[in-house]
């Protein structure tokens, strides 16, 4: 498995490129960190990779997953997982149902689906919290639940958008370890955007600097 960006470039409605064309190979199990000044378009880059680009932006270059070009596919067909600084658990579903939301439909049978979710919950140290209201979880619990929800969907690649920036400093280390262990054990190619050099160190992978645009 791998995530490949080939000469990816985003232009805004008036034709200015946000950053210089980006070519990048993320092999399975590796975490590539993207750093760059605020406003350079890191989040927009993730939108483009994940298939969420807002109207008005123009995209050139390609996004490849395992050698397949997914640039034209809608977000839900790309199988590219997303993690934000906020856990963004669905507020109307219980913790367990949040995880079940991401479970592939291929896994059949109520008991089996439930078991898969329960297993993921105990992996995340959330055993017994299936029926809980996500709003009642602590920040760390929420972040772990969100990561498990993303991983249960069996993504072919993962995008982490400043995933630890909102956590308390003492929690941050634990969460980094937890996240990167799971990512690496599942061999998912992962791209991370961050401001925090410690994130990059913990990711233990290549670091790329996103450069601002040159005049067109």
């Amino acid at each position: 498995m791998s995530l490949d960006l080939d000469a990816l470039c985003i232009r805004s409605a008036n034709g200015t490129a946000l950053f210089q064309p980006l070519t990048l190979h993320v092999p399975a199990g590796s975490v590539v960190t993207v750093m760059g000044p605020s406003g350079v378009g890191k989040s927009t880059l993730f939108d483009a990779i994940g298939g969420h680009l807002a109207h008005g932006f123009r995209l050139s270059g390609t996004v490849g997953l395992n050698g397949r070009d997914v640039t034209a596919l809608p977000a839900e067909a790309r199988r590219i997982g997303l993690m934000f600084q906020d856990a963004l658990l669905f507020p109307h579903l219980s913790v367990g149902d949040n995880l079940a939301f991401g479970l592939p439909p291929g896994l059949r049978g109520r008991a089996q689906r439930r078991a898969a979710v329960e297993a993921a919950l105990s992996q995340a140290g959330l055993a017994g919290l299936y029926e809980r209201d996500p709003a009642t979880l602590s920040g760390g619990q929420r972040a772990r639940a969100a990561l498990m929800r993303t991983l249960l969907a069996e993504p072919a690649a993962l995008l982490l958008d400043e995933p630890f920036s909102k956590l308390d400093p003492e929690l941050r280390g634990d969460m980094r370890r937890f996240a990167f262990e799971h990512v690496k054990s599942r061999a998912v190619p992962t791209l991370m955007v961050t401001h925090d050099p410690d994130d990059a160190t913990a990711a233990d992978g290549p670091v790329i600097a996103l450069k601002g645009a040159v005049a067109p």
Binding site: G56, E76, R79, P91, H92
Partner: protein, 567 residues
């Protein structure tokens, strides 16, 4: 997916264009024809300005015009001033949710019901006079015009009781979009008084957010019919009432000047809005000059307290009016100067049962159908915007507001002619259609902000988990937005229940609703039966608002962020 979005948006645009905009254009077209003398049914086939000459020559035309301008513009500006002053004075001490709950009954009660209650409260033989009677030693009511007065003051009070709460809600919602507390603190730290901070810093930020709702209020106040019939001057009445009367004059040729009056009514609204825009430009220039001078001295504090006192007095009067409806519906004999009825009876409820049951069922059917259709269209529109990942174009926003800015009387006569051409008049579907013209914009406006406030990253997370557009809509957006959707529906119910002219014109008088019955009965002598209808008319939207609070609380009882316990 983009294809999906395009198809959906094309369908929505077609429905809005043909369903909402075309009827208005057709209505204005037919009314306009009659205004310029073309009415083949009466053998009038040549265009002329006769109708306009007749219109200006009608007795009291000038007074009607003046009354319309004074009551419409006056009540709007006063309401705006009072609402802004009240917000400035008490905002810091009021939780927004508490404010909204306090205002709900005032928003829910239809204009007609409020007017019926107010007419009794304010009348020389009314509740206030009865409370004063022992002190003043009146054994018969004083001969003072406190309702239907020639100045239109009672009408203005009635309009303000409905408009101030609406503007308060609009301003409160605008305030939640700006960093209010920090700006006020910053301003006061620079040595400006609280009132001055509101005038110089807060209101300039709020105004662009409330501009359109203020236009809607202005358009409504200039062209209101039901409330003006009940509270306004009658000899002559305001232009909108006069036009409605001329449309139903025994002499059918009066349709011509009536149509001219209807077009004039639309022009007045257009010109008043233009005037407001011009005033905004002038105000901006003067305001900048004033702000740059940096004066801090002028204290607005007494003004703020006066505004708050006036708002409280208006609210108290409104509460009395609502209460009086219930009391009257349970009274048997209640004569001057008794403060409470001499005898009570349930007869007004049981006796009128056959009638109010049918009106209630019709009202429920109409509300259900119009709100259902409007909600479906609004959700389709918003989902279309989401799928296209676009913001709303200004012309689309204007399209939504159009039905609220054009006076109903301006196009309803013509629309009825149009409906007759396609054989649709006189049935419940014609009424549903006509009501939806006014229900949809309110539902759309009410739903747009919460819909956009939904964190787009949550929807992206759902997509990243493999959920297609359908699942994102049904399994994430709609359940999460249950509360705002039900609130929008409740607003839709309130608007549908309150519709008078569209129900009257399009229903050919056959579709009796609580509102048409209440207005008809208010021209009768039995205040008790009117009280029954007005109570029901006010109760229905209130029940809808209550449902919009209770249902999410039950459905999301174990979901702290959605049950409403937090907000």
């Amino acid at each position: 997916m983009t294809e999906d979005g395009r198809l959906l948006r094309a369908i929505v645009l077609a429905v809005v264009g043909l369903g909402l905009i075309a009827p208005i254009v057709v209505g204005l077209w037919h009314t306009g024809h009659a205004a310029f003398g073309i009415l083949p049914a009466l053998g009038q086939n040549a265009a002329s300005l006769e109708a306009w000459r007749d219109l200006t020559a009608l007795p009291g035309f000038g007074t009607s015009l003046r009354l319309t301008l004074i009551t419409g513009i006056g009540s709007t500006l006063l309401s705006l001033l009072l609402a802004a002053g009240f917000c400035a004075a008490v905002h810091a001490r009021m939780k927004p949710s508490a404010g909204a709950q306090l205002l709900t009954p005032f928003l829910a009660i239809p204009h007609a019901a409020m007017a019926v209650g107010l007419a009794f409260v304010l009348a020389p033989s009314g509740w206030i006079a009865r409370m004063l009677a022992p002190l003043a030693g009146w054994d018969r009511p004083p001969d003072i015009a406190t309702v239907n007065d020639g100045w239109g003051l009672a009408l203005m009070i009635g309009l303000m009781i409905k408009e101030v709460p609406f503007l308060l809600l609009v301003i409160l919602s605008a305030l939640s979009q700006i960093p209010l507390a920090r700006h006020v603190a910053a301003g006061r730290a620079l040595g400006y008084g609280r009132g001055i901070v509101w005038i110089k810093i807060i209101m300039p930020q709020v105004w662009p957010l409330i501009r359109l709702p203020v236009w809607v209020v202005l358009a409504y106040a200039l062209s209101v019919v039901d409330m003006a019939i009940i509270l306004g001057p009658s000899n002559p009445p305001t232009l909108a009432v006069a036009v409605t009367r001329w449309f139903s004059d025994p002499d059918p040729t009066m349709i011509l000047p009536a149509s001219a009056g209807a077009i004039l009514q639309a022009l007045i609204v257009g010109l008043s809005v233009a005037l407001l825009m011009a005033a905004e430009t002038v105000g901006k220039t003067l305001g900048r000059w004033w702000i740059r001078r940096g004066g801090r001295g002028l204290s607005a504090e007494p003004g703020l307290w006066a505004a708050s006192a006036a708002v409280m007095a208006l609210m108290a009067t409104g509460v009395l009016a609502m209460l009086s409806l219930v009391v009257w519906s349970l009274a048997w004999r209640w004569s001057f100067p008794q403060i409470l009825p001499e005898s009570w009876s349930l007869k007004p409820w049981t006796g009128a049962q056959g009638g109010w049951m049918r009106a209630l069922i019709n009202t429920l059917l109409l509300a259900g159908a119009t709100v259902g259709l409007s909600l479906a269209l609004a959700i389709a529109w918003l989902e279309g915007e989401d799928l296209a990942r676009r913001n709303r174009a200004p012309w689309a926003e204007a399209l939504i507001y159009l039905p609220l800015l054009i006076p109903q009387i301006g196009f309803l006569y013509g629309l009825n002619v149009g409906f007759l051409h396609i054989g649709l008049s006189g049935g419940i579907w014609a009424v549903v259609w006509a009501q939806a013209l006014f229900v949809f914009p309110y539902v759309m406006i009410a739903l747009s902000d919460p819909w956009r406030a939904l964190d787009p990253r949550m929807i992206r997370a759902a997509a990243a988990l493999g959920a297609g557009p359908g699942r994102r809509l049904w399994a994430v957006k709609l359940p999460v937005l249950l509360r705002p959707i039900l609130t929008a529906a409740a607003i839709g119910v309130a608007v549908s229940v309150a519709q008078y002219l569209p129900t009257l014109f399009m229903g050919a008088g056959r579709v009796a609703t609580l509102t048409t019955e209440a207005v008809t009965l208010s021209s009768g002598s039995d205040r008790r039966v009117t009280g029954v209808y007005a109570t029901l008319q006010a109760g229905l939207p209130f029940a809808a608002y209550l449902a919009a609070v209770i249902i999410p609380a039950i459905v999301h009882r174990n979901r702290r962020n959605l049950s409403g316990a937090m907000t």
